[in-house]
């Protein structure tokens, strides 16, 4: 973060370059851009863009510059490194986490997680800054609130990965917690797409079919203690269209009454499977 701040300041200490470029109009423009810090700003933005490779690059850039403007205005108001308000730090950390997708670009995501951690822990008054459990929990909650994840889905996960308010959160735990939350969010998105596939356009899915599919997933994930290749083979076989079609067919052939399953209920059941696999920190 400190590096970022420096980059954004106008490079006043470059008289050599300014003098050299004062003899032509295009060069004067270049010099102006340099002096105003635009070149560096654009370079930084493009770097982030390259790292993240978002699907909507223009939107990404717009968001990036907007954020830069906000933080720049606050940051430059009184120079130095003042103790930032808590919400500002949280906001900023969240922003970093959203910059790059966790599986599309591993390095970019790791970078951004550490930036987020730094910006959370940057607290001017104390000599040894750090992230405590309270701040960390708050960040995770914001992460979920932001995407509109239901409270009852999130609570079991948070219970596993949050720290107590007074505890210092090591970076590794921080990274793990953030990653877990992001993966759960993606998992929920997939589960919701799955629900739409299951209801075949009617808006409500049959409970028997839903449960059959979910229990197949659970069964595949339950297999532990075997070597990974075998596990992967089994998953490939059991989660293939043929096997699933059979499982769903069998479920429908059951002589149970057809009951609709609500989407919220489905998501809750699906997320329970995921959360069961998350190892609690400690």
């Amino acid at each position: 973060m400190a590096g970022n701040e420096k980059r954004r300041l106008p490079p006043a200490s470059e008289p050599g370059r300014l003098a050299a470029s004062s003899n032509g109009a295009p060069e004067a423009e270049a010099a102006f851009l340099l002096q105003a810090g635009v070149s560096d700003m654009v370079r930084g933005a493009l770097l982030k863009l390259l790292e993240a490779r978002p699907e909507e690059p223009v939107e990404f850039l717009a968001g990036y510059f907007e954020r830069l403007m906000q933080s720049g205005a606050e940051g430059r108001a009184d120079g130095g490194d003042p103790p930032r308000p808590l919400h500002w730090r949280l906001d900023r950390a969240l922003w970093y986490l959203r910059l790059a997708h966790h599986s599309h670009s591993r390095t970019a995501f790791s970078n951004n997680v550490s930036m987020a951690y730094d910006s959370l822990s940057a607290c001017g008054r104390r000599k040894k800054p750090g992230v405590n459990g309270k701040l960390y929990s708050e960040l995770l909650k914001m992460l979920f609130r932001d995407r509109g994840a239901a409270e009852e889905i999130v609570a079991p996960l948070l219970q596993k990965i949050t720290c107590r308010d007074h505890e210092a959160v090591p970076f590794d735990v921080f990274r793990y917690g953030v990653l877990t939350c992001l993966v759960l969010l993606e998992f929920l998105a997939k589960a919701s797409a799955l629900y739409e596939a299951l209801d075949s356009g009617s808006g409500v899915a049959d409970q028997r079919v839903c449960l059959a599919v979910l229990s197949t997933l659970e069964e595949v994930l339950r297999t532990s203690g075997v070597s990974s290749p075998i596990r992967y083979l089994e998953a490939g076989s059991k989660l293939g269209p043929d096997y699933l079609a059979l499982a769903m067919d069998r479920a429908l052939a059951d002589r149970k009454p057809s009951v609709a399953m609500k989407k919220e209920e489905f998501l809750k059941k699906a997320s329970a499977i995921f959360v069961a696999k998350v190892k609690p920190i400690g």
Binding site: K190, A197, D199, P241, Y243, I281
Partner: protein, 222 residues
Amino acid sequence: MPGMGTMALEPSPCTIKSPVMLQVGDMRTELGRPGVAVIDVILPHSQTIDLQEIVFKNYYTAFLSLRVLRQSSTGGGDESPSKWVTCLRNYCLMPHPHTEEGSQDYFSVSRHQMLCDMDRVAAIRLILRQPSPVWLHFSIEELQLFPGNQKSPQKGFPAWLSCPSQERPASLHDGLPDADKVSSEVQQMWVLTEMLQASQPAAEIGRFDVDGCYDLNLLSYT
């Protein structure tokens, strides 16, 4: 028929001792070359195997005899007496010992070619003969023992693997959701969960309490 498909199996681990040349008289002073060599093969940890097939590459051996040390099945337990039995007698590897034919071929001798039952084999002795003085050395190479395939490796094969071509039945229930789409989403959910399981935090917070209670010994001043 036997031997088919066995090549896909792993050969049994075994210890192959170096060949011992048999000769009448002193090896160094006698001029005649030895015509018989003996190779012993021992299974590790005094195991036994149910031998299905022996595979090797010939190196100028004309005839092969095979004797196996079998644990008798009647006694049961480790104390049962073992017995050496001849299971192959002068099996011809080179039809004309003076010529090249068959001298470096691969051979496979399987269970049904043997003279006796090949179960519970504890050791094997190969007796190689080369009557022709034309060849300086003779031996066999790349010896591999394959155990019977009807039991060991296929034990406990899961159903999803042993009948992988489980076809989708033609007559499925009406109104069944699109299986391809469902499968694709479920697989992605599986990948996400697996991915998370693979990444575990290396650091620990260092809590001393167990379910909110502290162990007094851990809190002492030492």
